[in-house]
């Protein structure tokens, strides 16, 4: 498969300007012309909360969903199942998804019982051991929980996340409304996945199937975005902005002076993502042209790095204001999408604190931004929390009673961005 990169920016800066913004679109395509060889093996790991709070409908639905997932696995995939509470139990160790191993896994899943506390660090530790058996495979985890991690486990969880980083990717799902968004987002963020809510246990199976389908579509793993910047420059931020906002700024791993890698995980053919770079450079004089950044996609296979694609971010200083004041529309669009997510996050926080006026203003702004950018999915989620009077102007009223699940769904899903429409 092949990767293609395209940069959208207004390279023209007014005299003295230091900040350079650019959107890079990376598209993976399998046009049959060779390029990057795909990773053959796929390893799918299920990590399921079996603490006492899962008792009843939730554990029943989770067991059913896991059984279904195991049944759906293609013969050439590998999988494992871990049940987590005070400690982790490997219900079904890493094995190829043959009819026999599926059967024995399903029998083992049947014996799962809920009980005990929530010590997520132990679950991840066990998962790490399983994933490390197949370091060359595409390694996708799925973590389901319904509650909060035990306070005492927090430092251990942080350390374990550092140990797991780069070893596998993980999607996180919270079932019900008693879990903590920030906690799961910490895990999914570090492990290059997303966090989402499954409001009703009946929805677990469907959600799991979606995750498995997406995982099976991945073809290459351990892909990094490598950014070179000139001496004296500073990366203000590096974010994935589509299909979902993921701030990668703090994830920079210095390769050498002036060059850092940002992890992007596994890619599937025909996948496309957008990244937003903001770089602060030493300003040049009028007429000067600078290479403000060179972004490339680096794929590591068997410890050998190969460069899949590259694009340049430029800065040209001009005294022509007609050129320098123009904001490139991709940059404008994604700046707006980031503002939309931030307004929702802060608006919901204000609402939680009872600051209705602030919440109304911020959520109203979010409604307006969602409307302007054509982000229909987010607009719809916003309507579960506010009554919209005028979407264009962003005038809203807070709903008097909002289901906790709805507010959580809005918060977790507000990071999904709309793709820029064609001009």
């Amino acid at each position: 498969m092949n990767f293609k990169a395209e940069v959208f920016q207004n390279a023209y800066l007014s005299q003295g300007t230091r900040e350079v913004h650019a959107i890079m679109t990376i598209t993976a395509a399998d046009d049959g012309s060779g390029g990057i060889s795909t990773s053959g093996d796929k390893l799918f790991g299920i990590i399921c909360d079996t603490s006492g709070s899962m008792e009843g409908a939730k554990i029943h639905a989770a067991k059913q969903a896991m059984t279904r997932i195991v049944e759906l696995l293609p013969q050439d995939a590998y999988f494992f199942v871990i049940a987590g509470s005070d400690h982790a139990v490997t219900v079904s160790p890493c094995a190829r998804a043959t009819a026999e191993s599926k059967q024995s896994a399903i029998s083992a899943i049947r014996t799962i019982r809920a009980g005990g506390g929530t010590y997520i660090s132990t679950w991840l530790s066990q998962a790490l051991a399983q994933f490390d058996r197949m370091p060359g495979a595409i390694r996708q985890g799925l973590l389901l929980t319904d509650g909060q991690n035990e306070q005492v486990d927090e430092p251990r969880l942080d350390a374990m996340l550092n140990a797991c980083e780069g070893h596998f990717q993980c999607e996180c799902r919270g079932v019900g409304a008693d879990w903590v968004i920030a906690e799961l987002q910490k895990i999914s963020g570090k492990l290059l996945g997303s966090t989402d809510i499954i409001p009703d246990a009946a929805g677990i199976e469907n959600d799991f199937r979606g995750i498995l389908e997406r995982a099976l579509k991945k073809d290459v793993t351990d892909v990094a975005l490598r950014l070179w910047t000139p001496v004296g420059a500073r990366v203000l931020f590096c974010k994935q902005v589509s299909p979902q906002l993921v701030d990668l700024t703090q994830r920079a791993h210095a390769v050498k002076p002036q060059t850092s890698d940002y992890p992007t995980g596994a890619w599937g053919r025909s996948e496309s993502r957008d990244y937003h770079f903001a770089i602060e450079v030493k300003p040049g004089g009028v007429g000067d042209e600078m290479l403000a950044g060179r972004a490339s996609l680096i794929i590591t296979q068997n410890r050998v790095e190969s460069k899949a694609t590259e694009a340049r971010i430029l800065a040209i200083w001009t005294d022509d204001e007609a050129k320098s004041t123009r904001i490139e529309r991709h940059v404008a669009h994604y700046t707006g999408q980031a503002e939309l997510a931030e307004s929702i996050h802060q608006g919901l926080e204000a609402r939680e604190r009872g600051e209705d006026e602030v919440a109304t203003r911020l959520l109203g702004k979010a409604v307006r931004l969602a409307h302007e950018s054509g982000n229909e999915a987010t607009a719809k989620l916003l309507r579960t929390v506010v009554d919209v009077e005028n979407a264009r102007e962003g005038t809203v009223r807070l709903k008097s009673s909002v289901a906790r699940e709805d507010a959580m769904a809005l918060e977790t899903r507000s990071t999904k961005t709309a793709r820029i429409s064609r001009p």
């Binding site: 910047t229 000139p230 030493k282 040049g284 007429g287 042209e289 600078m290 290479l291 040209i316 022509d320």
Partner: protein, 310 residues
């Protein structure tokens, strides 16, 4: 030797005093960082830091930018030229080379093409070298065309926006001037005995427009011939011009003549004085009029050996 500040006795080759750190006379002998074409003139990085497109791998600045914005060449009091970015364009895509006995080449990179500034420079340098080596105008044009096509593009493959440039070039031997051109950069003969535009623009206005149609400004500036990819294969336009007496040969780009489209109004700006002063004045005139395009003016005054009359 002794340190001039603290009198410490030091080995002769020291560049700084070991005691007090005072720079010694030897310090000045340290060669300055190479400002040659090899290194980065901005940060001093060595030549290998410069990538194929001229960007420095350390400071990121593109080489040659600053000097490309405005440069002047004076060969003699009668032979000089100025090339200037103007006020509106972010880069200077004009270029010129002069020298020899007497060779003049002026190019205007087509701004809708990629790396136009490189096209104009590559073409002008190539033609200049060919002419100095004794090639004829036609041969110089042919070699320049090949040189522009040769510009290495990262993702080349014959695109409409591949590098392209205009060119006007002249060789003067005795009282005979051989002149060739492609596009709308011009040559003029300017003298008290009468002014003449020697070239005829390869432009939409001249070659395509029905005579009764008043062209809009885009058509006014559209050229029908150029050097580079997709250049029409037609016989080159060449003329021989006999220098009739005292006067001056002026080569310029449209950044200048656009502000004085009539030959006599342009000629009125070519005052007496050193060639470099006159060409500077021409460039300043175009800048004062708005400077919307890059501006190049190159002047050779006749008789070429005469003392300057002030």
């Amino acid at each position: 030797m002794q340190c001039p500040a603290c009198d410490t006795e030091l080995p002769a080759e020291n560049r700084f005093c070991e005691e007090c750190g005072t720079p010694l006379p030897n310090a000045e002998a340290i060669p300055a960082p190479e400002s040659s074409e090899d290194g980065c003139p901005r940060c001093g990085a060595p030549g290998e830091s410069i990538d194929t497109e001229g960007y420095c791998a350390q400071c990121g600045f593109r080489r040659g930018r600053a000097s490309r914005n405005h440069f002047e060449i004076t060969i003699s009091p009668h032979f000089a030229g100025v090339c200037d970015r103007g006020l509106r364009h972010s880069r200077n895509e004009d270029f010129f080379c002069i020298g020899g006995q007497y060779v003049m080449v002026v190019c205007d990179g087509v701004s809708s093409s990629r790396r136009a500034e490189e096209a104009s420079q590559v073409a002008a340098e190539c033609a200049f070298q060919a002419l100095v080596a004794g090639a004829g105008i036609e041969e110089a044009l042919k070699q320049s065309q090949a040189a522009v096509l040769d510009i290495n593009l990262a993702n080349s493959g014959g695109h409409e926006d591949d590098p392209a440039t205009t060119m006007v070039l002249a060789v003067v031997e005795g009282n005979k001037a051989s002149i060739g051109w492609v596009g709308d950069s011009r040559a003029y003969w300017i003298s008290p005995g009468g002014n003449r535009q020697l070239t005829r623009d390869h432009s939409w206005v001249n070659e395509m427009a029905p005579s009764d149609v008043k062209p809009n400004s885009a058509q006014m500036h559209a050229i029908t011939r150029w050097l580079g990819h997709g250049a029409p294969e037609e016989d080159p336009c060449l003329i021989d011009f006999e220098i009739p007496g005292p006067g001056a040969l002026l080569l310029c780009t449209d950044g200048l003549w656009n502000y004085a489209p009539e030959t006599d109004s342009l000629a009125a700006l070519v005052v007496d004085g050193d060639a470099i002063e006159v060409t500077r004045e021409l460039v300043n005139f175009a800048r004062a009029q708005g400077g919307v395009d890059n501006i190049t003016a190159v002047l050779l005054q006749f008789p070429v050996e005469a003392p300057i009359s002030q």
